[in-house]
Amino acid sequence: MAASDALVEIRGLNKYFGANHVLRDIDFSVARGEVVCVIGPSGSGKSTLLRCINLLEQPQGGTVVVNGEDLTDPDCDIDAARRHIGMVFQQFNLFPHHSALDNCVLALMTVLKKKRPEAERIARGNLERVGLAEKMDAYPGRLSGGQQQRVAIARALSMGPDLMLFDEPTSALDPELVGEVLAVMRRLAGEGMTMIVVTHEIAFAREVADRVVFMDGGGIVEQGKPSQLLSDPREPRTRDFLKRVLKPAESED
């Protein structure tokens, strides 16, 4: 892909937690409109990589360029840059003291300085988009995990992001609630949203992703089209991981 249509451009990214070297010289880019799924064993650094893209984690080396702006530059207005990068967390992280609607309205008013009526109009539209028109006034505590995660997606979408980051969005959900969240994400991908999804849902990656990235030990081991990587991986580590994930009952250790 040409550099010009890359929305995310990461070069030489290094991240340490103390002495622990969690990201090792990562080069990674995502084109506008592309849906990338990042898979890998726990501790492989995939969530940290995602969190470096909106600088929730501060990398020690390398550059992260989003939308042509170098976020690692100390002069970069990181708050302004984050407005265009939506993030969805494993634990939803909804604001428990606000209704579903106000969860979406809050940043529209405080960050984008919208007036209340306009903020509510945008928020309603996005809650309808994730199928929660009836739950607008409910507080997060009254919603199921799946509904909470859809509110979280609506909250991120309300800011009108160019890029959506999903950090294991279905890992905290009961199995029967995973489908409704994946359906929203699938629709979003179909609408052309640029998405980076850290996930364990191999079936979702196979169906929705344009590209799958396999990470292990703080580095990208292999990446490619889902049909190739998930069915016929080149690297033994990828093959081993997929075997464990797809056929957990047959694992030997």
């Binding site: 909106n54 929730l56 708050d79 302004a80 984050r82 407005r83 990068i85 939506g86 993030m87 967390f89 634990q91 992280n93 909804l94 604001f95 428990p96 003291h97 809050l106 940043a107 405080t110 960050v111 984008l112 507080y139 505590g141 979280a152 909250r155 991120a156 800011m159």
Partner: protein, 274 residues
């Protein structure tokens, strides 16, 4: 400890429920003995006259109780507001990235938490010695508010810090990922949740301040500015009877009991919102 070793214990022990039954019986016996002793040995008519003289009660209520109650409320409210604002500031300083701020806040908190409120009031009333010409605004309120605020803020700072730290990290991350500045995240997301967590301990501190406001007598007051305690004591002294002090004590309950009820309601509605 008391578990039988393989059933080899020779002596039969009481079952836990039997033992609890006997302990309860002993507790009731002690209570009855104490009440019996009080009934037998105290001169109740004398106690009644000195503590609960009905005529003097009416007199106390009619002559200045409400004024004193109001003064206590005003002293406490001002001190609490100053304490809350300063306490929030101190809590933020304790959580600051700038190390000297953390040190300063820690020193302040440890100093004023360790000091009796009485000493702070004394120091405040003597402050003009160090700063000749210093005049606190709105005498005597300025001095009382400042003294109560200083004592209260040291306690409240620790409560507020604990409340802020009890808000999960993910909340701040969510706010920041939406583009909020760290200040906006603090005011819009962290503090509203932290204050909910802090309601019960802050109420305790408010009640403590209400009681500490009784120390205003050190500042030196004219009769119109008497708080409940000073008012009750003056009336008790002039009548040589404890009744006015009992009435003043009941005045404190008039403040604190509704407060407890309101706070319980707030907690209930806050837990609904979560």
């Amino acid at each position: 400890m008391s578990s039988p070793d393989n059933g080899a214990a020779p002596r039969r022990r009481l079952s836990p429920r039997r033992r609890a039954q006997r302990i309860r019986a002993v507790q009731y016996a002690v209570l009855i003995a104490v009440i019996g002793a009080a009934v037998l040995f105290a001169d109740w008519s004398q106690v009644g006259r000195t503590f609960f003289d009905p005529g003097l009660m009416r007199d106390t209520v009619a002559h200045g109780l409400w004024r004193a109650l109001w003064n206590t409320l005003v002293y406490t409210a001002g001190g609490f507001v100053i304490g809350l604002v300063a306490g929030t500031l101190l809590a933020l300083m304790r959580l600051s990235d700038v190390a000297p701020y953390r040190w300063l806040a820690t020193i302040y908190i440890e100093f004023f938490r360790g000091l009796p409120a009485l000493v702070v009031f004394m120091a405040f009333s003597l402050l003009p010695l160090a700063f000749p010409g210093l005049a606190m605004p709105w005498p005597p309120y300025g001095t009382v508010w400042a003294a109560l605020g200083i004592v209260g803020s040291a306690y409240m700072a620790e409560t507020i810090r604990a409340g802020i730290q009890a808000v999960p990290r993910g909340q701040i991350e969510a706010a920041r990922s939406l583009g909020m500045t760290s200040g906006q995240a603090m005011w819009q997301v962290t503090l509203p949740q932290a204050f909910r967590i802090m309601i019960p301990p802050l109420t305790n501190e408010l009640i403590m301040l209400i009681k500490d406001s009784s120390l205003v007598f050190i500042v030196g007051l004219s009769a119109a500015n008497f708080d409940l305690t000073k008012f009750g004591r003056a009336a008790a002294n002039s009548n040589v009877n404890i009744t006015p002090l009992v009435v003043a004590g009941l005045g404190y309950l008039i403040i604190t009991l509704p407060l407890s009820i309101i706070v319980r309601r707030m907690e209930a509605s806050a837990s609904k919102g979560r």
